[in-house]
């Protein structure tokens, strides 16, 4: 029973779906039965176009998060290590963090053109602000006692930073990375739908809808869901491994 319980919700949803199909609640053209979507998903991921688009989206998201981390983590550490400096840029960070990144598409298109880079850059922009904010707070909220403990043992400012503050900020950094990767995925998919794309999961969903290939559209949606879930899980596992002390 304990092994089955986590699956109950998913099974329930599938049962509900079959019921809806059977009772013709929705137009059958819009809602194919679950097995049709499953078959489309299976076929698509077996070297079909869906698999190729899936990899494209993974690649863009990975580039975006790598770029965002490379910029935001060092900058977050610098800003966070001086509360005065952070306070003076806090408004700018919060403002752009609250601005929907999709509103930046036209601007990025003008600057970087319609190429692949633009999608990665917009996603990186959105993710970077979330990561920056979390890293800076992680550094600022490092336990004062721990810093004092290192100082009283004779640690230099640099050693305090390296041995204490950086590690103290890691749990919060991971919170930022996880939110950042979710956001980057959202932005990449939206960008793939609307800014001159020929591939990617977003484009796949959009194209299937345009061609009225409903099982394919559901398959692409589930592939995107699985990707988002998987990325979050991956970061959680990495966090558990490297930040074993978090929350204890």
């Amino acid at each position: 029973m304990r092994l089955v319980r986590p699956l109950l919700g998913a099974l329930g949803l599938i049962a509900l779906w079959y019921l809806a199909v059977g009772a013709k609640v929705v137009d059958p053209a819009l809602l194919p039965p679950p097995h049709a979507a499953a078959i489309a998903l299976w076929k698509g991921m077996q070297g079909g176009k869906l698999y190729f688009d899936f990899l494209k989206t993974v690649q863009r998201t990975a580039y975006a998060i790598a770029l965002a981390s490379a910029l935001a983590i060092p900058l977050g550490i610098v800003l966070g290590s001086s509360e005065k400096v952070y306070r003076s840029v806090e408004f700018v960070i919060d403002f752009f963090r609250s601005t929907p990144a999709s509103a930046m598409f036209p601007l990025f298109l003008v600057i970087f053109g319609v190429g692949d880079r633009t999608k990665v850059y917009v996603a990186a922009f959105g993710a970077a602000l979330v990561i920056l904010f979390n890293v800076a707070y992680g550094v600022m909220n490092a336990r004062k006692t721990r810093i004092l403990a290192a100082k009283v043992m004779g640690a230099s400012r640099w050693r305090v930073m390296r041995d204490v503050v950086l590690l103290e900020s890691l749990p919060q950094t991971f919170v930022g990375l996880r939110s950042g990767v979710s956001l980057a995925l959202v932005i990449v998919i939206v960008a793939e739908m609307f800014i001159g794309s020929t591939d990617g999961l977003g484009q796949r969903v959009f194209e299937a809808q345009q061609l009225f290939e409903m099982p394919d559209m559901y398959a692409a949606i589930f592939a995107a869901g699985a990707l988002g879930y998987g990325l979050n899980l991956l970061f959680l596992l990495v966090e558990k491994r490297f930040v074993h002390w978090a929350g204890k």
Binding site: T145, R146, L148, A149, K151, V152, D163, L170, H244, W245
Partner: protein, 268 residues
């Protein structure tokens, strides 16, 4: 270095002893609240001093200033004539949970100050093992702090302070976050360490029973700005055990300290 005897800041009721730490003309102001105004104190070498006083009088502030954790406005603090930078000290915080490094194993925590001294790994292992053997402690050094009980964590904190063989050991209410049973155990363990190492020890306490039990000298502070209200020798023999709680001279010492304390609390 002239010996400073018979000052009001030196312990009374005892033959004068050579000072290890001298505090002269200490002045400390916390945003308008004067905590110390011209405070003098002598701490004798190789003795166990406990600091007790009314709430908020600046007990912890005193050891934090002496240990260099917080700056002072005026005054001079010397360790056998040397400054703090030339003196090895150990400091134990009240909140072990926030003072230990949770990303390091117990061993790495204890050995951290040795790493700061740039000792090689082999030597660090040696020093930690020697310390543990010397003090008769057996704990699993591979565990992380969050895998240990509160008492074990504070034990690790104290070992971390001792591993550099400090000249002075400071402890800020080290047992107040532990349950009573554990604090009794730790008290006796600390007493044994003191007997072994004879390190000058300054312990801030909020528990008078503990303060008198552990001390060679009890330093009683007044309300703010803090003065030395009394600085009493506790000449009871060591090692002290539970039996001492029934000892008339222990009871008398405690009663006297309580009297001074209550006088200071009521003052003003």
């Amino acid at each position: 270095m002239p010996q400073t005897h018979c000052l009001p800041c030196a312990p009374n009721g005892a033959a004068p002893e050579a000072a290890h730490i001298t505090v002269r003309g200490l002045y400390k102001d916390f945003g308008g609240t004067v905590v110390y105004a011209g405070f003098d104190l002598d701490i004798p070498r190789g003795r166990f001093i406990t600091v007790f006083g009314p709430n908020g009088c600046g007990k912890s502030t005193l050891i934090n200033i002496i240990a260099g954790l917080i700056p002072h406005d005026r005054g001079r603090i010397l360790f056998g004539g040397k400054g703090l930078a030339q003196t090895k000290i150990g400091y134990v915080f009240q909140n072990y949970r926030e003072a230990l490094f949770p990303w390091m194993s117990a061993f790495a925590n204890i050995a951290y100050p040795l790493r700061l001294m740039r000792l090689a790994r082999g030597e660090r292992v040696d020093r930690v093992e020697r310390l543990l053997a010397h003090l008769g402690v057996s704990i699993d050094l591979k565990l992380y702090p969050y895998q240990m009980s509160g008492g074990q964590q504070q034990l690790v904190s104290i070992l971390r302070a001792l591993v550099v063989e400090p000249e002075v050991l400071f402890l800020d209410e080290p047992f107040s976050a532990l349950d009573y049973e554990m604090s009794l155990f730790m008290r006796d363990w600390l007493q044994r360490i003191f007997a072994e190492t004879k390190t000058t020890t300054v312990l801030v306490s909020h528990d008078l029973e503990e303060a008198v039990y552990l001390a060679d000298y009890v330093l009683l502070l007044s309300r703010r700005p803090a003065r030395v209200a009394d600085y009493r020798r506790v000449a009871l023999p060591r090692p002290r055990g539970e039996a001492i709680f029934a000892d008339p001279s222990y009871i008398e010492q405690k009663r006297h300290c309580l009297e001074v304390f209550q006088r200071e609390v009521r003052a003003k």
